[in-house]
């Protein structure tokens, strides 16, 4: 079994409880974002609409951070777009499993983000994967916007960082990465991605560091990939 095959055969059995936990964690992260945004003078409407239309937590937080630090709007846009550039790659991967029909497909495209794509990829390709993607995508998107809205109202009441929402998001990425680990080669690729990203974070914005780490990992993946066996092998 190749690494690619083993990656898609890792199929976590999702339960209602698991989905509720996922929704709660995403909403918690949204609360933190909404609270921070209001505290920085962003009002109520803008962070909520940003969560609704961008659907990219890391890019929203990074862009807000740049604006709060009196950085140029263009820098905020470039950094935010760099952080969301990975969505293009995720879109390519999940494309075969998006709904048919123009409007439904546009909704499916709107829902593309790390967690729905990551969890969908952990299931076997086909109708089940499509269903998982849509269910998790709607849940995550709704929880993100709802959490943001709640955060804009209650954020001033207490320190939302005490809830550990950012730790939940880091944990989500750990779980998504772990689902694609299946042998020494994949461990090496993951370690390269992790290490190069950290090294780059010391000198460039996190969004670009993530892209650099992923690029380095893809180089290692390409170099270490076993050549495909010839089609017509004689057997005895």
């Amino acid at each position: 079994m190749t690494d690619e095959e083993s990656a898609v055969e890792v199929g976590p059995r999702r339960s209602t409880g698991g989905l509720l936990l996922l929704g709660a964690a995403v909403a918690l992260f949204g609360v933190a974002y909404g609270a921070d945004s209001v505290a920085a003078g962003g009002g109520i409407l803008r962070p909520v609409l940003t969560s609704l239309f961008v659907q990219g937590g890391a890019s929203q937080i990074a862009a807000d951070g740049i604006l709060q630090g009196h950085g140029a709007p263009l820098v905020a846009i470039v950094v935010g777009m760099a952080l969301n550039l990975r969505f293009m790659a995720l879109a390519l991967i999940i494309s075969p499993d998006l709904p048919r029909g123009r409007l439904r497909r546009l909704l499916g495209i709107y829902l593309i983000s790390d967690i729905p794509v990551g969890l969908a990829l952990a299931t076997v390709p086909g109708r089940r994967r499509s269903r998982v993607y849509i269910v998790v995508g709607v849940l995550a998107a709704s929880a993100w916007v709802a959490g943001t809205l709640i955060g804009t109202f209650v954020g001033a009441a207490f320190d939302v960082s005490a809830l550990g929402a950012d730790g939940a998001i880091a944990a989500a990425f750990v779980a998504l990465a772990f689902g694609h680990i299946s042998g020494i080669r994949t461990i090496l690729i993951a370690l390269v991605s992790f290490a190069v990203t950290i090294a780059l974070m010391g000198i460039i914005e996190a969004g670009f560091a993530v892209l650099g780490g992923a690029a380095a990992a893809l180089v290692v993946e390409g170099v270490s990939r076993r050549p495909a066996a010839p089609v017509n092998e004689s057997t005895t």
């Binding site: 976590p12 890019s59 790659a89 494309s95 550990g164 929402a165 750990v174 990465a177």
Partner: protein, 106 residues
């Protein structure tokens, strides 16, 4: 005003990138080597996001805090129970350990 402009640009730009990835890129005929690379994208991207989410700060540089403890604990849990689906539990553990560590380290 700047915030609204950034929001609009991010919204349009992000959706456009998703649309290109889902609609235009699949129409290009790709050699099998490229397909294998595309299949490896999650394995390349998610560990990088782990690094950013665990050690990222407000600007350039790394920041060591409670998130690092949570990430190590979550990884240990996933390795110990690797035969089971633990995505939701991992997020809960991540939040709980981060919150507890921040309380203890204050």
């Amino acid at each position: 005003m700047a915030g609204w402009i950034v929001m609009l640009a991010l919204a349009i730009g992000t959706f456009t990138m998703k649309w290109i990835g889902a609609t235009l890129l699949p129409r290009w005929s790709m050699p099998s080597r490229f397909t294998a690379t595309v299949n490896a994208l999650p394995l390349a991207i998610y560990p990088a996001l782990v690094a950013s989410a665990t050690l990222g700060g407000d600007s350039v540089g790394v920041q060591f805090d409670a998130r690092l403890i949570a990430t190590v604990v979550v990884l240990a849990v996933l390795i110990a129970f690797r035969k089971r689906s633990l995505f939701g539990v991992a997020m809960l553990v991540g939040a709980a350990v981060t919150a507890a560590a921040r309380l203890l380290l204050r």
